[in-house]
């Protein structure tokens, strides 16, 4: 009797709703061209706040993406999640006809940093402005950071394992890893990812307490990690959802295996303790490589966390070399998020989407607004760089101390 093949998790669908594109195609076009869409904050009620620049999703019409009941019952971050999930499922060619007969074979995993701030603020203003009888019942679920998992599951009729990862910004990567584990344990398909909508007045005020937040007014100077001009990070909204499924059955049904999820690990080193994040991030990289059975030299590109705080940038640059050895100084590193901002949990999922697209196109997207690098890294800065890419490493750290690393392999690389 032969050994059964181990189940492996693959990405077969990508759905992006990002500041630089409300479809995956537009996102990749802007990302590879290094277009920065960071701009003055225009969201209602935010204009006068000290946060001057952000990555807003401008070409997204919620009413054409989701049904009216979800407009009334859920927050903007969930509208993004449902729209991105639709795009990802369409990309994977998984429709109602494919999943309708086996609802328990499809699950949902999301991560979120702050939940439905805009919805919650509106209802709390009714509470204090008019009284408790004027608070709508959907407040009980719409603000909740778990809302998107539940609403995607309800809207699409998915009854498989559903979860929410609460692990800081790095939770976006952890959600993808959680999906991979669920698939390895036996679930056919997991819709996984993260979206955020932190650009509402209450949410912005909450973020003003982060000393890492950039309040610089010039969009070209507000978010410049790995440079002498690093002055913090710019927040963003939007995000991405991925379809993660078992590789062999995906190939069997004729799906396009866009990448395989080869390894992941996460560590914790404490809130805003950036010097210590060096050790934590390096350990996460080593453990992710170990799970992937991947040598440091096999990493062809690194998608950096790129916080934009000098101490944190230094820790990340050193961690890459600590974990990858001398290869860490040669491997191309990129941070396309400097063109769109950091969408908290959504940021590493957008990086994962960009990494898959980079592997497919053999093109490393650049790091907008970053050119005068002051660390010992080969940062892809001005324009995209063509390269033979088989394996990518995506890094993420959270303000509260989580560090996470994910290893992705090109979908065609392991076709056997």
């Amino acid at each position: 009797m032969s050994e059964p093949h181990p189940r492996r998790a693959a990405i077969t669908g990508i759905g992006v709703v990002a500041p630089n594109g409300a479809t995956t195609e537009n996102f990749w076009k802007s990302t590879k061209e290094g277009i920065s869409v960071l701009a003055p904050v225009t969201r209602e009620g935010c204009e006068h706040l000290p946060l001057r620049v952000a990555g807003e999703v401008r070409d997204f019409e919620a009413s054409s993406a989701v049904e009216e009941r979800y407009l009334v019952q859920t927050d903007r971050f969930t509208h993004f999640a449902m729209a991105a999930a639709d795009l990802a499922l369409d990309d994977a060619r998984l429709g109602q006809a494919d999943t309708g007969d086996s609802p328990f074979s499809v699950g949902v995993v999301t991560a979120a940093g702050s939940g439905g701030g805009e919805f919650g603020q509106r209802e709390l203003q009714r509470l204090w402005g008019k009284g408790s009888r004027f608070v709508g019942p959907y407040q009980s679920i719409a603000w909740f950071y778990a809302a998107s998992t539940g609403q995607i599951s309800i809207r699409r009729g998915f009854k498989g394992p559903c979860s929410v990862v609460a692990a800081d910004e790095a939770g976006g990567l952890d959600a993808i890893a959680h999906a991979a584990r669920a698939v390895r344990r036996g679930t056919d398909v997991i819709v996984a990812g993260a979206t955020e909508a932190p650009l509402a007045p209450y949410s912005v005020v909450c973020q003003l307490g982060y000393e890492e937040l950039s309040t610089v007014e010039d969009p070209e100077r507000a978010y410049r990690p790995f440079t002498e001009g690093a002055c913090g990070f710019v927040p963003a909204e939007g995000g991405a959802m991925l379809v993660v499924e078992e590789e062999a059955s995906a190939r069997e049904r004729g799906a396009r295996v866009r990448a395989t999820l080869a390894g992941h690990a996460a560590t914790f080193t404490g809130a805003s303790r950036w010097e210590q994040s060096r050790e934590g991030l390096a350990e996460a990289i080593r453990a992710a490589l170990d799970e992937a059975g991947c040598a440091p030299e096999e990493i062809d590109v690194v998608f950096a966390d790129a916080l934009g705080v000098p101490e944190a940038d230094r820790a990340e640059a050193l961690a890459i070399v600590d974990a990858l050895g001398s290869h860490g100084r040669r491997v191309p590193v990129t941070a396309p998020k400097t063109g769109i901002g950091r969408g908290y949990c959504a940021a590493p999922v957008l990086d994962t989407a960009a990494a898959v697209l980079a592997l497919e196109n053999h093109l490393i997207p650049p790091t907008p607004n970053v050119f005068d690098i002051c660390h010992d890294l080969d940062l892809v800065s001005a324009r995209a760089r063509a390269a033979e890419l088989r394996t990518a490493l995506v890094l993420s750290r959270g303000l509260m101390g989580s560090n996470s690393a994910l290893v992705l392999r090109h979908g065609a690389a392991d076709a056997s």
């Binding site: 009216e68 009941r69 979800y70 407009l71 019952q73 009888r133 004027f134 709508g136 019942p137 959907y138």
Partner: protein
Amino acid sequence: MSDRITVEELAELMKKAAGITVVPEDLQQQYNSGFDALGIDSLGLLGIVGELENRYGTPMPPDAERSKTPRQFLDLVNSALMTGA
């Protein structure tokens, strides 16, 4: 505004409180169907009760939010409005 809540008003409240659009004629036809079939969940019905209480300035019976059908719901809230008036 009449003292009785009509099918028209219920349809308007369903749209406002739960985002469910149904024209009054259809709602009349589905008078004995379950709210779930119309797409109204328990939170949606609770929101409709809250709107009515604010609009008429009077509490609705506790059973209103547990009504299964539009008929059951309108019978309950209208009898409460009649006795309250």
